[in-house]
């Protein structure tokens, strides 16, 4: 036991499992699991099985290692149907150490995520159906007025106090109907829960939940760009060149990707000069053109998790709009959130000024001008 402890400490000393987790999710998770075989082998105990140098060579350029006649390499290649592992020139030796630290560490303890979001706490606000309320109140007004009129015409006795009650009731109803109408129209184009049928029955639950693929593996734009982007078909093909059968949908849905990009699953080859077809996804989250929302800003600088706005996507079979995406919703968050200034040199001087002039330690988004119209509308 103590030996094991020393070993894990050593592993920890060699690499940073937190960094490794991020790298693993971005680069490896689409083909490898820690505990089970996917496209590639399970990662459990890999650092005991292979030497560090071998792993570095293999990860950076497996093809070269195979060609060099390495027995282990050829054996692995044969075992996994000769599917080549992509080359990761971009990963440094330190990165690989980090990944291995994560893989080893995961054996014993689950790495704590700093920003873990408990999505079960986020609930969709239940809203009154103002549309219906408006129609009902108008109907009641019409009916009552009609009845009163009928009484009046028929010259039936009407006690004064009763008439007073009638009119008070109607005035209250008129107010209610105005309010309901206002609330109803204000709700127009708020599409919370919008869940269109997509051209491919793609399940986020399978990909993001079961397979635990990092959101940003496919939506890579969210790290760098204003738009998170919908992955192009070639990103799908990173896995689906071999995963040809879905867990829920069988072969039909995945075949739609092949049709779009021009891939023959039988020969595992792309057609040449294929007339590629676009996949026309239905857009779920749609901000108006005059709103400039930047994903990378909110993820990298704001430190938001995707789920905070998009809900528990990993539990959705078909994606729906989770948040209201109204300005009120944006502004609420900007009012309450503080900016994480630590360690970012950009904020150094600004934060110092801030502490001096306003005698406050925390800066909220609002105080940095996050409520100004021009920050989002230009």
């Amino acid at each position: 036991m103590s030996l094991f402890f020393v070993f894990s400490l050593l592993a920890y000393a060699e690499g940073d499992p937190n960094g490794g987790k991020r790298l693993f999710k971005q680069n490896c998770a689409s083909c490898h699991r820690i505990d089970k075989r996917l496209i590639g082998p399970a990662m459990q105990g890999i650092s005991n099985k292979r030497s560090k140098e071998w792993l570095q060579k293999w990860i950076k350029n497996s093809e070269k290692l195979i060609k060099s006649g390495d027995v282990d390499a050829i054996a692995i290649f044969e075992e996994y149907d000769k599917i080549p592992m992509p080359k990761y020139f971009g990963l440094s030796n330190n990165d690989i150490d980090d990944i291995m630290a994560y893989v080893d560490f995961k054996d014993t303890v689950e790495v704590e995520s700093k920003n873990a979001v408990n999505t079960s706490n986020i609930k969709i606000k239940y809203t009154v159906n103002y549309h219906l309320l408006f129609i009902i109140s108008v109907l009641v007004i019409v009916v009552i007025s009609w009845v009163v009129l009928w009484f009046y015409k028929a010259k039936l006795p009407l006690y004064i106090n009763v008439r007073f009650v009638y009119f008070t009731f109607i005035i209250v109803l008129i107010f209610i109907s105005f309010y309901a109408f206002w609330q109803w129209t204000i709700q127009i184009d708020i599409n919370t829960g919008y869940q269109p049928i997509q051209p491919i029955k793609f399940s986020h639950k399978v990909h993001s939940g079961t397979q635990a693929i990092d959101c940003q593996y496919c939506h890579s734009g969210s790290r760098t760009s204003k738009v998170s982007g919908i992955p192009s078909a070639n990103v799908c093909m990173n896995c689906h060149n071999t995963v040809q059968e879905g867990t829920d949908t069988g072969k039909d849905e995945i075949a739609k990707i092949y049709k779009a990009i021009g891939y023959n699953p039988e020969t595992n080859k792309y057609y040449e000069n294929y007339n590629q077809k676009a996949i026309k996804w239905v857009r779920v989250h749609n901000l108006p053109d005059f709103v400039n929302y930047n994903h990378s800003q909110h993820i990298n600088i704001g430190g938001l998790e995707c789920q905070e706005c998009h809900g528990a996507v990993e539990e959705m079979d078909e994606l729906y709009q989770f948040s209201t995406l109204t300005m009120e919703w944006c502004v609420d968050c900007h009012r309450t959130k503080n900016i994480d200034v630590a360690g970012n040199k950009y904020y150094e001087e600004i934060h110092n000024n801030f502490k001096l002039k306003l005698e406050k330690k925390e800066i909220s988004v609002e105080e940095m001008g996050g409520l100004e119209c021009g920050k989002c509308h230009y």
């Binding site: 127009i188 184009d189 599409n191 869940q195 269109p196 049928i197 890579s220 734009g221 760098t224 760009s225 204003k226 738009v227 982007g229 919908i230 992955p231 192009s232 078909a233 070639n234 990103v235 779009a260 990009i261 590629q276 077809k277 676009a278 996949i279 026309k280 996804w281 239905v282 857009r283 749609n286 108006p288 053109d289 005059f290 400039n292 930047n294 990378s296 800003q297 990298n300 600088i301 360690g343 970012n344 040199k345 950009y346 904020y347 150094e348 001087e349 600004i350 000024n353 801030f354 002039k357 306003l358 940095m368 001008g369 100004e372 119209c373 021009g374 920050k375 509308h377 230009y378």
Partner: protein, 1044 residues
């Protein structure tokens, strides 16, 4: 690369209608089991009649259309295979060059989602790294829907394969029968293209290459050839001059290929940027280029000169000869002409004295296309040993040879030419003797046009081959000896086009594409000149320079000896011998250039810096002559300007043209801009002005014996500046270099005070506003913009850059007349007049009756006024009058100092525009996008590709104005945050500042001590526009300094 609109993929309503989608979705969500429904036996016994059925259908349709309030179903279409370099939402920059035969510039092209959307100068380029208005606007030419989209044979589509076959056969026949094959191109200074043409000539020995520049610089080229033996231009470096005397050379505009902006700006710099804290008296070592301009038409260069003399062309010649005789010696008189008596004799003597004492710091230039004039000017420089005229580094941006063209026309008419291939030239339009050319064209059997458009020339050709835009092409250039530039495509060709070079290679039977040819050529011939140079690095940089000794050892004195100056002078004078009557100068406008970009609405709508008139050319005439002829300009009640029409006659050529009375126009001369009057291949709205090339006989810029006859009728101008004078307001501040250097700041840039009951007080002390948060909490950034009136020349490239960056709409001539132009940035041009309030007081013109007279006299600008250009955009006031009056709070102030405009909030009351003292707000009177009434670039799918996806396209009824490029500052701040570093000036340069070739516009954060703007902020010359109003603008101006 794909041109897919990933970011905004609204499906056509016709393809997937809203209602249909809605219903379809509901159907699936509900999962109605049709099987069960249809097998239900009760259905047959149901009482639902046909009428009921129709009722239900009607009801559901109504409900469906009601629920359509939810908005359209949008599609999001990703790439099938995403190119590695493209990330939606992120801009890529490519270094390339724009070379359209008239202009040349090394540029960076901003690409979004594979679409080039903006051109910026390539600051790495030592020469030609500046963008003028036309270069900025050339991005729109790429997306011109009028471009030729496929190869044509007599107006019918033909495949490249068939065309190649036919042309190869025909060329072989022509070559075998000994007939000439002539290739006419605009100036191309591309080493690899020269090689391609060589290959072509090898295959067809009778082939000949002729260079044709619509606006010729043959005079200078021939003069230089006579002196040095090389047909090129000397390199003029204005930063090395201390005194410049220009005889009609518009070197800030279109003189000898342009590109002199940076040097001039450097020479004109006061050197005060580094010693901002010094008070007056410590500027003793500052030096400033002194600029004399002798010209007839008021040019941009003349407007910026320290001393400008309005002198008609013939007198310019005499003055230059006079200057020559004073500096080099001899030739006081030629024949019976007494050169002693020029109209500006005293001034020329003064200049000669100054030039002599300046020695090698002097420079004399002339804009004449007469070889003899050019020889005289170059001779003076050689005699002065001028450092500013570098004879050893040759400039190649112009190569046209007038003589070759005239010989070609003769050869064509005599039937010697078997095939004519034109590339990027429009000779039918731009030749003075275009009738002879057209007659000769009939005798040419094979006529091939290679052009972006079916223009006047292409229309008469057998074959029309579309060529790609510079931004879709490969290529290289050597504008100056040892200075190379590369051209790389920034977008996949939009149409079925093929490059000129590819065509020639194909027809020469060289089976290699031009890209491979170019790369190989560079690797073999150019990259070898410098150790370690690689193709990829050069392509990345866009420019590549090798050190050359040039012809340092050449002895030009000896070359000069061969030239018989007496003969040169005689010839120069002979041109004017029979002169009588009015003289005409043909000039080139900054906006339209030589006319190739006539179909570019940005350029059409760009007001001329001098006349402030767009959508036209006109005859500029002096006030005196206009009065003599009874010609008038007048304004209608709504401010729109009208002018008289005249018939302009020279020999047998006449044209009807409106007159524009131009202060500063030399009496006895008139001016007319080239480049207008295009008719073919140009949208009807853009067929503006008259074709002045008619009078460009023998490529002579000047001509005499002009008759002007007044006609009945009037012409409606689209002139945007009505005020000719300052009207006594303290808008412009200027001083002389001497005062600036030696006197206290208060003397030439006094602090603004206002009169109160308690005496004079500073503006800040009598503020009605509470001090804003910006001043109190200098926490984050506080952006300021400074405009240096000394450096600004009014060249207007910032205006076009702003159009491109901010999706500013073009409104057309009629709306400009209605003062509804949408330019966020205008460049006001002020003439300073002899009449001021002080003068009026002296003459007893003040008082109630006198005031009107005084203003009248102020409005009659003097005959040769001084000119100031003042770019004005939103001043981003900290105490903004516009913000307080908006009833819906659509315009608000940001903590960063920007006055923000939320378009989606604006309801269009226009209170803000009324309350703005600077008149910088623009109202969308109409829907300018997707509206057939405004058939410009926003009205077609191709034209809309130029739109910047980061900026909203405004709709009707919305106010808009300069945002200080908030999309750029926001992106810059985000970049700094993500990289975890402080914000730098380079992150946040707005479009106008980065386009400014003269460094006149400086932008930055005044809360950062190291930024360039802080120096401007602390400068002595700083002043604010209408400071007395207490608006506290975030835009500042720097007092104009004249070196006189």
């Amino acid at each position: 690369m794909s041109v897919k609109k990933y970011w905004k993929a609204i499906e056509d309503l016709n393809e997937d209608s809203v209602v249909m989608n809605k219903l379809r979705n509901n159907e699936f969500v509900e999962e109605i089991s049709t099987e069960k429904f249809l097998t239900d036996e009760n259905l047959k016994n149901g009482s639902t009649s046909r009428r009921d059925f129709l009722k239900y259908v009607g009801f559901t349709t109504a409900v469906a259309s009601l629920s359509a309030c939810d908005g359209v179903v949008e599609k999001a279409i990703p790439y099938v295979v995403k190119p590695e370099t493209i990330t939606p939402g992120i801009a890529d920059y490519y270094a390339t060059s724009i070379a359209d035969g008239h202009d040349f510039a090394s540029v960076l092209v901003k690409n979004r989602e594979g679409r080039p959307i903006k051109i910026e100068p390539n600051n790495q380029a030592k020469y030609f790294g500046t963008t003028n208005a036309r270069i900025q606007a050339s991005i729109l030419e790429l997306y011109d829907n009028n471009r030729l989209k496929f190869p044509q044979q007599s107006e019918f589509e033909i495949s490249w394969h068939d065309a190649d076959y036919e042309i190869k056969t025909a060329l072989t026949n022509k070559s075998a029968s000994g007939k000439q094959i002539v290739i006419v191109t605009s100036s191309m200074f591309s080493p690899s293209t020269d090689e391609v043409i060589l290959k072509f000539k090898k295959k067809y020995p009778t082939a000949k290459h002729i260079v044709y520049d619509a606006v010729s610089n043959s005079g200078a080229l021939n003069a230089f050839e006579d002196i040095t033996g090389t047909r090129a231009l000397p390199l003029y470096e204005f930063d090395k001059a201390k005194i410049v005397v220009s005889f009609g050379a518009d070197f800030l505009g279109n003189w000898l290929g342009g590109g002199y902006e940076k040097g001039y700006s450097k020479g004109r710099s006061l050197g005060d940027e580094d010693k901002a804290d010094d008070k007056a008296g410590n500027k003793g070592d500052a030096e400033m280029l002194q600029h004399y301009q002798i010209e007839s038409v008021m040019s941009l260069t003349g407007a910026n000169a320290d001393f400008r003399y309005a002198v008609k062309p013939s007198e310019q010649t005499y003055a230059l000869i006079k200057l020559y005789s004073l500096i080099v010696g001899g030739y006081d008189g030629v024949g019976n002409l007494k050169i002693n008596n020029t109209v500006i004799d005293a001034e020329v003597r003064q200049m000669a004295k100054k030039l002599k004492s300046a020695g090698d710091n002097g420079l004399v230039v002339t804009g004449s296309n007469d070889k003899n004039m050019q020889i005289l000017a170059m001779q003076i420089n050689i005699a002065l040993k001028s450092k500013a005229m570098n004879l050893n580094k040759h400039v190649h941006v112009n190569k046209g040879n007038d003589k070759d063209i005239q010989q070609l026309i003769i050869a064509m008419n005599s039937g010697k030419v078997g095939a004519l291939l034109t590339y990027n030239v429009n000779m039918v339009y731009s030749l003075a003797n275009s009738k002879e050319f057209v007659r000769g064209l009939d005798k040419v059997q094979l006529k091939i046009s290679m052009s972006k458009f079916v223009d006047e020339t292409a229309k008469l050709m057998d074959f029309n081959f579309p060529t790609p835009h510079s931004l879709e092409s490969w290529g290289d250039a050597m504008p100056i000896d040892g200075e190379y530039a590369l051209i790389q495509p920034t977008i996949k060709p939009l149409y079925n086009t093929r490059q000129f070079q590819d065509n020639l290679l194909k027809w020469a039977g060289v089976e290699v594409d031009y890209y491979s040819f170019l790369k190989k050529f560079w690797q073999k011939n150019i990259l070898t000149k410098k150790e370690g140079a690689t193709w990829n690095k050069s392509l990345y940089d866009g420019v590549f320079s090798v050190s050359t000794n040039g012809n340092a050892n050449a002895d030009y004195e000896r070359g000069l000896l061969k030239i018989n100056i007496a003969y040169v002078v005689k010839k120069a004078v002979r041109f004017w011998n029979k002169t009588k009557g009015t003289e005409l100068e043909l000039y080139v406008k900054l906006s339209m250039g030589n006319g190739v970009m006539a179909n570019n609405p940005w350029l059409q709508e760009l007001p001329d810096p001098i006349t402030r008139t767009s959508w036209d050319n006109y005859l500029t005439i002096s006030q005196k002559q206009a009065r003599e002829l009874g010609l008038k300009n007048w304004n209608e009640a709504n401010g729109a300007m009208n002018g008289s029409l005249v018939k302009l006659t020279k020999g047998n050529k006449t044209v009807t043209v409106p007159v524009f009375i131009q202060p500063g126009q030399a009496y006895g001369s008139v001016g007319l801009a080239l480049g207008y009057g295009r008719k073919v291949g140009v949208k009807s709205e853009m067929q503006t002005g008259v074709n002045a090339y008619k009078f460009y006989k023998n490529f002579a810029k000047y001509s005499s014996n002009i008759e002007i006859e007044k006609l009945e009728g009037e012409h409606k101008f689209a002139c945007v500046q009505l005020h000719n004078t300052l009207m006594d307001r303290d808008i412009i501040r200027e001083t002389t270099f001497d005062k600036y250097k030696n006197e206290d700041k208060e003397n030439w840039n006094p602090t603004v005070t206002v009169k109160t009951e308690k005496g004079k007080k500073q503006v800040a002390e009598v503020d009605i506003w509470k001090s804003s948060n910006i001043e109190k909490e200098a926490v984050g950034h506080h952006f300021n913009l400074s405009i240096d009136l000394t450096k600004c020349t009014g060249c207007a490239s910032c205006v076009v850059a702003c159009n491109a960056e901010n999706n500013v709409a073009v409104v057309g001539k009629e709306e400009v007349r209605n003062s509804r132009d949408m330019h966020w940035l205008r460049i006001d041009r002020y003439y300073s007049s002899d009449m001021t309030k002080d003068v009026a007081d002296e003459n007893g013109l003040s008082g109630i009756g006198g005031t009107a007279e005084m203003y009248d006299k102020m409005e009659i600008a003097s005959n040769n006024p001084e000119v100031v250009f003042q770019p004005v955009m939103c001043q981003h006031c900290n105490h903004a009058p516009c913000e307080t009056v908006c009833p819906v709070v659509a315009t608000t102030h940001g903590k960063q100092g920007q006055n923000q405009m939320a378009y989606n909030r604006c309801v269009g009351t226009r209170y803000c525009a009324n309350n703005c003292p600077y008149k910088v707000r623009r109202f969308n009177w109409f829907q300018y996008a997707e509206n057939d009434e405004f058939d410009f670039n926003l009205n077609d799918d191709v034209g809309r590709m130029v739109l910047n996806p980061d900026v909203t396209v405004r709709s009707r009824g919305v106010m808009e104005k300069c945002s200080m490029c908030i999309q750029i500052t926001q992106a810059g701040i985000l970049k700094a945050k993500q990289e975890g570093r402080k914000l730098t000036d380079a992150d946040i340069q707005p479009a106008c500042a980065s386009a400014c070739s003269y460094n006149a516009i400086v932008f930055g954060d005044i809360n950062q001590k190291s930024s360039a703007i802080t120096k401007e902020f602390n400068s002595d010359r700083k002043y604010y526009l209408l400071e007395e109003l207490g608006t506290q603008p975030n835009l500042m101006y720097q007092t104009k300094v004249r070196n006189k």
